[in-house]
């Protein structure tokens, strides 16, 4: 190897040393400054603050939480709240987005126009403005509990949030959940078995119906065995507020509605692009082969459309999760909001931001890993 910048190998090593050296120096300089500044400001670094008493109340929590619990537990409450709004949001946004995406392709002029207008509006307005809008609807427009709007019997909109009736608590519900999980596991086994049998004998098995039957049927059977409880827990006005039923706080409802309607606009475009991406020749070829319409969707169109849809769809799911951090602006106690309060109270800025970043990175990176696996699985296998 010649020691000359004209030698490619030496040049590559030289520049990498320069780049790494420069960045290393800058990082070292910043860290040195930070350590000095922390010393001057008498801020102790470390994670001990997580065990200290938080001292602030949190509006809503999935686990038990009191102000005398620790910061660590408060942050955990926040993380669960983020996951809660993200999980519900993803499901609802997918449903709404798929309908609107298909609606935009409708031959019905009115439907396709309505869907187009929806998509254009949602994509061109900042999410934060939409969140403030919904939040203001609860604050300024919806009446107090006594005059609550009741669009559907039992569902109440008031400035205290949304109230929905839910099935009254019953021991069979837990078993139904277990049966649901068991149904998923069983349908996976059935799917494997059906694929193996089809590979071996060519006989087909109605996997879709079997899956639906197992996943929905098993909980239903368990519900029947449990005596088919139909009692509902209705929200009832008592004094100045409602009791019973499921409560969605104004913060949660505004965040959820905002996230769902916003993300659905993007999902609609992805679904539309995915459907348009399947060339018409594929449909024609399938009908030339004599494949029935339902089978055609299942065997020819969906597998190809999903290949286009799934990657951008996961990034939308990720966006929704990241966007749920805007909760801090309307006061929903998500991870960012609670970490922010923690930073303000303890001054542990570095640790607080590290927690936020680590949490979101964990979610992002695991979804990327899943995506890589999925892309490999569905990639065209050229032989």
């Amino acid at each position: 190897m010649r020691i000359s910048l004209n030698d490619p190998v030496f040049r590559a090593i030289f520049w990498q040393v320069v780049v790494v050296g420069t960045i290393g120096f800058v990082v070292w300089y910043l860290i040195a400054n930070t350590l000095h500044n922390l010393e001057v400001r008498k801020i102790a670094t470390g994670w001990t603050f997580l065990d200290r008493e938080a001292g602030f109340a949190i509006g809503e929590s999935l686990i038990e939480y009191e102000p005398d619990h620790s910061y660590g537990r408060a942050l955990w409450v926040g993380a669960l709240n983020t996951l809660r709004v993200a999980a519900i949001g993803i499901v609802l946004a997918t449903i709404l987005g798929t309908f609107i995406g298909i609606g935009r392709l409708s031959k019905n002029w009115l439907i396709s126009k309505v869907c187009s207008v929806y998509v254009e509006f949602m994509r061109n307005l900042p999410l934060l403005v939409q969140l403030f809008f919904w939040w203001a609807m609860f604050q300024d427009v919806f009446p107090g509990p006594r005059q609550a709007l009741e669009p559907i019997t039992g569902v109440f909109f008031s400035n205290r949030g949304i109230k929905i009736p839910v099935p009254a608590e019953h021991w069979v519900h837990a078993w139904m959940g277990l049966a649901f999980l068991a149904g998923i596991a069983a349908s996976m086994v059935v799917g494997r078995w059906a694929a193996a049998r089809q590979a071996a004998t060519g006989e087909q098995f109605p996997v879709l119906y079997a899956t639906l039957g197992l996943v929905l049927g098993l909980p239903f059977v368990v519900w029947l065995i449990g005596g088919a409880p139909v009692a509902m827990d209705w929200p009832v006005l008592r004094g100045f507020n409602f009791q019973g039923g499921l409560t969605m706080t104004p913060e949660f409802a505004a965040l959820l509605v905002g996230l769902v309607t916003y993300t659905a606009g993007f999902i609609a475009e992805i679904v539309r692009a995915g459907i348009l991406a399947v060339p018409h020749g594929q449909t024609e070829a399938a009908s030339a082969l004599g494949i029935r319409r339902g089978k055609m969707l299942q065997l020819v169109i969906l597998p190809q459309a999903l290949r286009v849809i799934v990657p951008p769809m996961t990034s939308q799911y990720l966006n929704l999760t990241k966007n749920s951090s805007l909760a801090v602006a309307i006061g929903y106690p998500d991870l960012v909001s609670i970490a922010n309060t923690t930073i303000n109270q303890t001054g542990q800025a570095i640790e607080g931001i590290a927690i936020i970043m680590a949490a979101y990175l964990t979610v992002s990176l695991s979804i990327s890993l899943f995506m890589n696996w999925y892309n490999k699985r569905i990639a065209f296998k050229e032989r």
Binding site: V19, D140, A329, M357, L361
Partner: protein, 365 residues
């Protein structure tokens, strides 16, 4: 010839009645379609019947907060905007000097429109931008030509949104090109650093980057050196935008046929020569539409600086709506502000669609 009916037996096609034909084909083609049209039409009409009296006929368009109060629940309070427009557009900028941010905003819009015209896509564009941004800097800071100095703490309103978005994308652009090239580099150390930066930024929400900029940057700097909140937020936005833009640029680099890279090598061009003269001009041209989309995203995302306390146009409106006499008109306020964002973003997105069509014209036959 039994199969072909005599022409005299044919009835005139219904399609001669154009409007009716259109209605039948697009709205009432089948029973299901007819039902859908009727249901959706009914919902739209009902919604409009509820909204129009409130939003138009009974609304208070100009006047005082008292008139709005009198109409509360019956009509919308659009009078909020005429009464507060100066605060929304200019926020806390000194009142007598409002013409300066106004002129700066006009300059921004001029720069956008100027850059959108393809006849201007040449070297002159760089000078126009340099001149425009210098003019904006002078107008905003002052301190020269007899203009009084205005500290960045007093900047706000629409011009702040435009500054954050424009400088965000303009300064992120060179960084993004370096990151994209680095990510495709054959040098493992450079590649790793670029991938780590891009994925780190893309993996976290913008808020956490802004928090970092607002509370952690001061710790990074040597003692005694401070730089103001606006600049910190701007740096955070530039980092954030550069990671997303880098992925867009990488898309262009990957879409370029390999023959172009090989041809550049065969001509004996060095790496930077090849990038500057062969690869980037083609790759960047290809990604103009997604770049405009990134800009739209960034323009919308600048509203997040509200969370770290900067008075951008959304925060100015929110602050104005929190005055005691104007409380309770949130839906009207945010509806109005969203229209303003919509005008900017919709124009940009239509433009990017148009450019995309023009770029792909050669593909159509």
């Amino acid at each position: 010839m039994a199969g072909i009916p005599a022409t005299a037996d044919l009835r005139p096609p219904v399609s001669q009645i154009k409007a009716l034909d259109w209605l039948r084909a697009n709205l009432f083609s089948s029973w299901a379609n007819t039902a859908l049209t009727l249901v959706v039409g009914y919902v739209i009409v009902r919604t409009l019947m509820g909204f129009i009296p409130w939003g138009v006929f009974n609304a208070v368009w100009t006047g005082s907060a008292d008139e709005c109060k009198a109409a509360k629940g019956v009509g919308a309070c659009w009078a909020f905007f005429p009464a507060n427009w100066r605060f929304i557009l200019f926020a806390t900028f000194p009142y007598e000097e409002h013409w300066r941010p106004a002129l700066a905003s006009v300059t921004f819009v001029f720069l956008y429109v100027f850059s959108a015209i393809r006849a201007n896509w040449n070297a002159r564009l760089v000078y126009v931008w340099a001149g425009g941004l210098a003019l904006i800097g002078v107008l905003m800071f002052g301190g020269v030509f007899g203009l009084s100095f205005v500290a960045t703490e007093r900047w706000g309103g629409l011009v702040l949104t435009l500054i954050l978005a424009t400088f965000g994308i303009a300064l992120a652009f060179p960084l993004a090109i370096l990151l994209a090239l680095g990510r495709r580099s054959h040098m493992p150390a450079v590649k790793t650093l670029c991938v780590a930066f891009i994925e780190l930024i893309r993996g976290v929400p913008l808020i956490s980057v802004l928090f970092m900029a607002s509370v952690m940057f001061p710790l990074f700097l040597p003692e005694g050196v401070t730089f103001d909140k606006l600049l910190r937020a701007q740096v955070g936005i530039i980092f954030f935008a550069s990671a997303y833009l880098a992925e867009v640029v990488r898309g262009g680099l990957q879409a370029l046929p390999k023959g172009q890279y090989e041809a550049a090598d065969a001509l004996g061009l060095s790496y930077w020569q090849a990038m500057r003269m062969i690869v980037l001009p083609q790759a960047l041209r290809m990604v103009i539409p997604p770049m405009v989309n990134t800009f739209i995203g960034l323009f919308k995302d600048t509203s997040l600086v509200l969370i770290i306390g900067l008075l951008d146009v959304l925060n100015a409106a929110k602050t104005a709506a929190a005055q005691p006499e104007w409380r309770g008109y949130g839906p009207e306020v945010y509806f109005g502000i969203s229209l303003m964002y919509f005008v900017f973003c919709f124009a940009m997105s239509k433009y990017s669609q148009q450019v995309e069509v023009e770029f792909n014209r050669h593909k159509h036959r």
